[in-house]
Amino acid sequence: MASIAGKKSGLTWAVHISVAALVLLWLFPTVGLFVSSFRSGDQISSSGWWAALFPSEQNEVYRTADPKDKRVADGDMFVVTGNIFESAPRDIKAWGVSSRDVAAYQPGETAELKDGESVTLQADGNYVWRGNDKQISGRGQRIFITATVPPDFSLENYTTILFSGSGQDNMAKAFFNTLTVTIPATIIPIVIAAFAAYALAWMEFPGRALLIAAVVALLVVPLQLALIPLLRLHLGIGIGKGYLGVWLAHTAFGMPLAIYLLRNYMVGLPRDIIENAKVDGATDFEIFTRIILPLSFPALASFAIFQFLWTWNDLLVAKVFLIDSTGSTTVMTNQIVELLGTRGGNWEILATAAFVSIAVPLAVFFLMQRYLVRGLLAGSVK
């Protein structure tokens, strides 16, 4: 198309570059959180996460071995030799022996201290510490190095969040609570809405058009309006705050969209199939379960994903209908908000907690994207 206009090459490159820029811009925030969740608290607060992806220069402090067991006599002097790196070798850029000047010497140089005491440090971390009896005693000599440190990531935060950690940091319980809220709140509305959608799509009765209009109207009613009346109702009839209440609330709040999506899909199914089945003596119940439900799978899947994402990510409904003062039924979104308040500076905890709660919806999103897109299109484009 563009080639007919004769401007292909220049514009195409501009398009590729701008799309790439937009994609990077959109990914950047999530990647930042993802990278941060693999860094320790010290690492996060000492440098930006974007710096963590590349080798960085850091100042570190090491100590030579203790003279007591390591020193060797060399004439009237004593010498301690060894390597400052025990496990992880560094690439030393510069080093020093005083905290006031940590980069005084190059690797391989010798630092002359008072009264003939000297330290020599090689690039690979080997050192020679030489001095008289009094100098080579007590604790080992401190050595400051400036080194290039390779990127360093660990799963430690995830172990804290999922398996250990104090009650407040541990998300395992909230994770299961969220699951407990989500699964019934996804499945039950589908069953109820599917029957209603079938009736609205394929059964003739007075008031049908009015009902459909009502569903469309309720589609946009903000659930904020429902909070107080329903909470009063739940408290009044003895459900109180708990799983049953939140299941009922999610079921009802998801109902308009479910009916709307499923009805629109079912109306489009071929009329012949249903009429043939009727002629063959099938009841409406049989037609629904044997023919309509299997054929409507794509629409059912679309709605299931919507409802799953919505209930998993929900904060408001859970806060109002589920979480009581004991907090034992807290869900992940609520726990993260609480962490934001109490652990606002502990990014290793926050980032990991947030990522644990994001991971499941992201997986669902990438696996079922096709159905999600289809549902969006059916729900919005008229």
Partner: protein
């Protein structure tokens, strides 16, 4: 105990819930066909007809029950609560709660911020969505790009708030900044780069926004003065409203564009972005725009694909350039879809609660109506004023509700 294990409880609920639903539908049908109106005996024919009259309501009953009790009834109950006072045992107090609410500066702050959100977020999300949809339309890795931009849809508002709090993080000036926004901000020093990025670019963006608003407003208004086809009376107030809002927005953005050049920017000082009053609203809006762009993109991309090729080919033959094709051929043809996307995002904006709750909780002048309402209901325990603010949200939604129902009915005919 069963209730001690939520997972087991959940599993049992699924089995009972789904089982009860299916059981209800199955047995109610059986009872209807076999017991109440048996399809045998002398009245078989009449009974079948009668059963078929009742059956739709059997199918509909649970759904209608849920909708009525959980969505329709609360609208009226909230309305009633907003006219009563809880501390006076629910006595009727007329518009007292509304008066109390209107006297609060926090309420007007919430209204002002909500208006800002309502203008900026749908506009920005739709514009970005349209841009991405058009750009990715014909490139080979377009689907991958779209799916990555769509991804934030799956992320909760709370998760997104954490993500963006990290971006806006502030450290003292002598430490390494760990929030990318401050890290970038400190790179600006007032030199030529700063002028380009912080003055020229915003000016261009303001002017572009003003141009788009002016164009849209003109589309609405021109039918009043010109000889448009659709001159129905009830559209007139809408057109006038859009026209006035358009003029106001154009004036606002042009004056902001001028303001950019006179502002003194605190170069070299790390900023606490979420406490900068007025501007912090925009830092919160970015979160929602980031999430909603994918939604707009998916729908607009499908609409763009649905445009008949012939119209575009004809334009090319007539010598239109790519920009003319986009703005004069494609955009007018998908205007209906753009409006649908816009209204859908508007609805989301009206209900936005989690982002403000998690990031600032309405401090530093970032209050919005939904969070104001939550504050009143569950912190101040003032159900009257809380319900009154919920009714305000409902009123703002009502035009979209009416419009949706109108469209749905038109389509069914």
């Amino acid at each position: 105990m069963l209730t001690d294990n939520p997972a087991l409880l959940g599993l049992v609920t699924i089995v009972i819930g789904v089982g009860a639903c299916l059981g209800y539908f199955f047995f109610s049908n059986v009872v209807l066909d076999k017991v109440i109106f048996p399809a045998t005996g002398p009245n078989a024919g009449r009974n079948i007809n009668r059963a078929n009259l009742v059956r739709p309501w059997l199918f509909l009953f649970p759904a209608v029950f849920a909708l009525t009790l959980y969505l329709a009834y609360p609208v009226f109950e909230t309305l009633r609560l907003s006219l009563t006072d809880r501390s006076l045992d629910g006595a009727f107090v007329g518009f007292e709660n509304y008066r109390k609410m209107m006297a609060e500066s926090k309420f007007w702050e919430a209204v002002r911020n909500n208006m800002l959100w309502l203008i900026v977020v749908p506009a920005a999300s739709t514009a970005f969505g349209l841009l991405v949809a058009q750009l990715t339309d014909r490139i080979r890795w377009g689907n991958l790009a779209k799916s990555l931009i769509f991804m934030p849809m799956a992320i909760s508002f709370v998760g997104a708030s954490v993500i963006f709090k990290l971006i806006y993080d502030t450290r003292p000036a002598d430490q390494n900044q760990i929030g990318i926004l401050n890290a970038v901000w400190l790179k600006f020093d007032g030199g030529i780069g700063s002028v380009l990025m912080l003055q020229v670019l915003p000016t261009l963006m303001y002017l572009a926004f003003a141009a788009i608003v002016a164009y849209v407003a003109w589309l609405f208004v021109k039918d009043i003065v010109g000889k448009g086809q659709d001159r129905s009376v009830w559209l007139l107030p809408l057109r006038l409203l859009v026209g006035v809002a358009g003029v106001w927005l154009v004036w606002l953005s042009v004056s902001s564009a001028i303001g950019v050049w006179s502002a003194e920017l605190p170069h070299g000082e790390p900023q606490t972005w979420l406490t900068l009053s007025f501007w912090n609203n925009f830092f919160l809006m970015v979160v929602l725009i980031w999430i909603q762009t994918g939604f707009a993109m998916v729908i607009l991309s499908a609409a763009l694909r649905g445009i008949p090729e012939e119209t575009i080919e004809a334009a090319i033959i007539d010598g239109a350039n790519p920009f003319q094709i986009f703005f004069k051929i494609k955009v007018p043809q998908i205007m209906g879809t753009i409006v649908v996307v816009w209204t859908t995002i508007t609805l989301t904006v009206l209900k936005v609660f989690d982002i403000v709750f998690a990031m600032t909780n309405g401090q530093w002048e970032t209050q919005v109506l939904a969070n104001y309402m939550y504050d009143k209901l569950f912190r101040a325990n003032d159900w009257g004023v809380g319900s009154a603010s919920a009714i305000i949200i409902m009123l703002l939604v009502t035009p979209i509700l009416v419009w949706n129902v109108y469209n749905a009915r038109k389509e069914m005919r």
